[in-house]
């Protein structure tokens, strides 16, 4: 019998999309494993998802407290060993706060909470979630956040752009970048980035909400399929 990739989904106090993430993993053919923020244990999973929500009520800064939660010691070690880690929305904020990804997510330039389907232009296939995609390809995935504007120091921005660490940019459905297609005012239309090795990826849009054709776009499918495939390769184990 073929082994199913085991994908851990961390639940922090205030996580909202952990159940959806587990459901999406299962629907894509993975084995979803619930992980708890207060444990020092990843239960031997092959990949980790940090889900969306409002961990610790977004107190202090979005993701700031969660980034210092006990399980983040293990997530950090797993990431440094090459294990696939995907941070979605609040999970992206957590990865930035934990120093596993560059930059920070701040309040949307419009001051408005945005909740809509957006188009993302894939910028690199060299990551654990874009293996099956081609640079320039478009996927449609929803966003829902009030603090998703990615910003960085000048040095970080140079590095992220210079070393090809941008994974997704908000674009029109024709792939063209514009302010109108940038839901939060993110620097250089950046929706998601990766670490140097490409095993750690964070993005504001929600691939776990875009796998079921009955309820909306399915742009999340190739991302999760890629994550499952990378997980099976067992890099982080």
């Amino acid at each position: 019998m073929t082994r199913l990739p085991r994908i851990g989904v961390v639940t922090f106090p205030g996580s909202l999309d952990d159940a959806d993430a587990r459901r999406a993993v299962e629907s894509m053919g993975g084995d979803a494993v619930a992980l708890w923020h207060a444990d020092h244990d990843l239960a031997g999973v092959d990949a980790v998802i940090l889900p969306g929500g409002f961990s610790y009520g977004d107190y202090l800064r979005c993701g700031a407290i969660a980034a210092r939660a006990p399980i983040m010691d293990e997530v950090g070690g797993f990431a440094r060993r090459g294990g696939p880690v995907l941070g979605i929305c609040n999970g992206f904020q957590v990865l930035c706060e934990a120093g596993l990804l560059d930059g920070a997510l701040v309040r949307n330039a419009s001051l408005r909470f945005v909740c809509e389907d957006v188009w993302l232009r894939v910028e690199t296939a060299q990551t654990s979630v874009t293996l099956g995609l081609t640079p320039g390809e478009l996927v449609q995935i929803p966003v829902k956040h009030g603090e998703g504007r990615w910003v960085a120091t000048a040095e970080q921005l140079d590095r992220v752009e210079g070393e090809g660490l941008v994974v997704f940019r908000y674009s029109g459905r024709d792939g063209v970048l514009s302010d109108a297609a940038n839901p939060n005012g993110a620097t250089n239309h950046i929706a998601g980035i990766r670490n140097d090795a490409g095993n750690v990826v964070g993005l504001m849009p929600h691939p776990e909400h875009a796998v079921d054709p009955d309820v909306g776009p399915t742009g999340g499918q190739p991302l999760l399929a890629s994550l499952l495939e990378t997980a099976l390769a067992g890099v982080g184990a």
Binding site: R68, A104, L111
Partner: protein
């Protein structure tokens, strides 16, 4: 041991768009406050630390400010010592 009380002021770095500040700024003229040219919204954290001396307490607070109370990517901070008891 003495208890030292500090105030940590956290502000968005200059030049970083502060939509909250802009929203407050935009509301002020309607209330009759003219001449306001800039508003930035930050955080004020008051904390008390038990330590053998003020230097030790100050070192701890700066470490906390760097590691968690502020995010150096987007924020600056300032530590004010306000009381010892």
């Amino acid at each position: 041991m003495t208890i030292y009380t500090f105030e940590v002021l956290v502000s968005l770095k200059p030049g970083l768009l502060d939509p909250q500040g802009k929203a407050v700024e935009g509301s002020l003229p309607a209330m009759g406050f003219d001449g306001v040219v800039d508003v930035r919204v930050g955080k004020h954290i008051k904390l008390s630390v038990e330590a053998p001396d003020e230097a030790a307490a100050t070192t701890q607070v700066h470490e906390m400010a760097t590691k968690v109370l502020s995010n150096p990517v987007i924020e600056d901070y300032e530590v004010l010592a306000v009381a010892a008891s």
